[in-house]
């Protein structure tokens, strides 16, 4: 393939998984306590999608990667300090809530609008990547809605692998039940791929890539269009962290035989 792909990755920020989350009620609907102060990371599945996009762009000459990110501008700026050092991309920022309680339909509309507004967009070369779910809303819905809004008919969910052939067709492995893959071949772009973990490790920080990316990040953040993202038609009645504390029994100083016997009795019960 000589002309390359236009690879657009949709991905935003989520609270660092190690943070304790506490739901609160805000005028806009449910939110998280100290949400603006919580350290954030790039959504893990979106991060895998971004790394796979960069890997694919390297393999297929003439390809380019955009990262379309919907989140509060100030937090996106913080996030880019780390993400921008990983792989080369051009940021397209959309200024709006990244809360997990927002409606996926509104999020998809904002993302699709941002993609359609990309200068020089050529749908015949377009591959839209994203996570198969977010670590915030965790709905596995947004990318399909983006797909439909872009008028794309080919969608793949839980993707772990893409292999591009010389004619521009590509083979995709999608996760399905029982540790199996659905193996399919798509004749050509455009397509939307919602990634699972893929097979690539997280790239190490590269300050040179960081400097290159950051040249475009600040202008992108300044140009970020505001998007009114809220709970939409969702009416939340209750949002809570259920009490899950268990009375843990610690078994110390027991012999291997006794422990094994107890576990086997429990397994067989």
């Amino acid at each position: 393939m000589s002309t390359g792909f236009q690879i657009v990755v949709c991905g935003s920020l989520v609270p660092d998984p190690l943070q304790t989350l506490e739901p609160v009620t805000t005028p806009q609907g449910p939110g998280l306590k100290n949400e603006t102060m919580l350290p954030s990371v790039l959504d893990p599945w979106s991060a895998h999608a971004l790394f796979e996009a960069a890997h694919l762009a390297k393999q297929v000459a003439g390809s380019k990667v955009w990262l379309v990110s919907l989140g509060p501008k100030a937090k996106l700026q913080q996030l880019m300090m780390t993400v921008a050092q990983k792989v080369p991309f051009e940021l397209v920022a959309v200024d709006g809530s990244a809360s997990g309680f927002t409606d996926a339909h509104l999020v998809a509309a904002a993302l699709a609008d941002a993609i359609l507004a990309l200068p020089g967009l050529d749908k015949s070369k377009l591959l839209v990547f994203g996570g198969c779910a977010s670590a915030s809303r965790d709905a596995s819905v947004t990318m399909q809605l983006v797909c439909e809004r872009l008028g794309i008919s080919e969608f793949f969910a839980g993707v772990d692998e893409i292999t591009v052939a010389a004619d521009g067709s590509f083979r995709v492995l999608e996760r399905i039940e029982g540790g199996q893959y659905l193996d399919s071949t798509c004749a050509s772009a455009p397509a939307v791929l919602a990634w699972a973990t893929g097979n690539l490790p997280e790239p190490p920080n590269n300050p040179q890539i960081g400097m290159l990316n950051m040249r475009g990040v600040m202008p992108a953040l300044q140009k970020a269009k505001p998007a009114a993202i809220g709970v939409g038609g969702l009416a939340y009645e209750k949002v809570e962290i259920p009490a899950q504390k268990r009375a843990t029994r610690i078994v110390k100083d027991a012999s291997t035989d006794d422990i094994a016997k107890e576990i086997v009795e429990w397994l067989k019960a």
Binding site: P201, R246, I259, W266
Partner: protein, 350 residues
Amino acid sequence: MAEGLTDIRTRERKETIMKILALLHTENNTLPKAAFEVLTAAKRLDGELIVAILGSQAAAAANSIAGCGALKFLTVEGAAFEKPRYATDAAAATALLQAAAADIVLAPNTSRFARALPGAAYRVGAHIDTHIIAITAQDGAVKAQRWFYRQRILSTFSRAARPWILLVEGGINAPFEGTAGSANAEAVAVTLGDQRTTINGIKAPAADAQTIRPDAEILFVAGAGWTKKQKDGQYHIGKAGSLIQGFLTMAKASLGSSKSLVDLKSEGQETLSFMSHMNQVGQTGSTPRHQKGLSTCCHGEEPHAVGWRFITERRALNLDANCGWAQGKADVVYIADAFEVVAKINALLG
């Protein structure tokens, strides 16, 4: 003739009765367990039930649940719908949704429907929510429950807009048991556009390498500790592998992994050969449902909290009595060498 009071009441009742669609698909020419579970959930809602089925042998599948009390059965079947594929499944689901014109749609949260139904929802102007773990309805008000932030925050919510599609998680409802018969299913026509995707098939691990067993009673989670230096200062990754595989075989267990363990493989380090990202439970992994879970050599939130949310009985085996992640999350924590204990367990199970 003027409308009588009884007629008015009948009409008003009809106008307020919810139309509920149980949207199902076949798997290997029959309905999977998840479909029967959704049928149970749909029957529990107060309304008129319609059943729609897509996939191979859909009409025969409708006959197998003819006694479920549905007012009508709709089906889409044919060569194009035998295998899961977004373009064809979304088109079929769209046709079925339009034909049923239901208020509430319940469907199983299988990989096939999780892939296709959000697109179909968009096409018919419906709203969709997924990973639903509970549904209640009272006087036409339907409420659903699901987790947010990867099983950390639980929410009950509703939508006024209709149609509303709810993908229901497996293992929540008892499978419907009813009589077979003649469903007289109505075949729904589907208009298909260009198809650019060809399904090559299912890629499954070899039978003896299949470690993910969703229907197993026990989940065995291995952590990175199995690949660290042991008491003698040496690595024993080969032995770890045979102990774990031995346990899986004898206990008929499913295998989960911590993120740190599966990441070793992508980082090029030596690790357990049969372990992949597919086994990972937790933040970027799965959240499987099993009755019992035994975590070994794990230290971190993912196996103990996020990945274990739906494990009913939890026990852990590690060397750290003060492991903060296991405290309060596991029922029992054994402080012992996993290599020794699992070897002994395998001997007892054998």
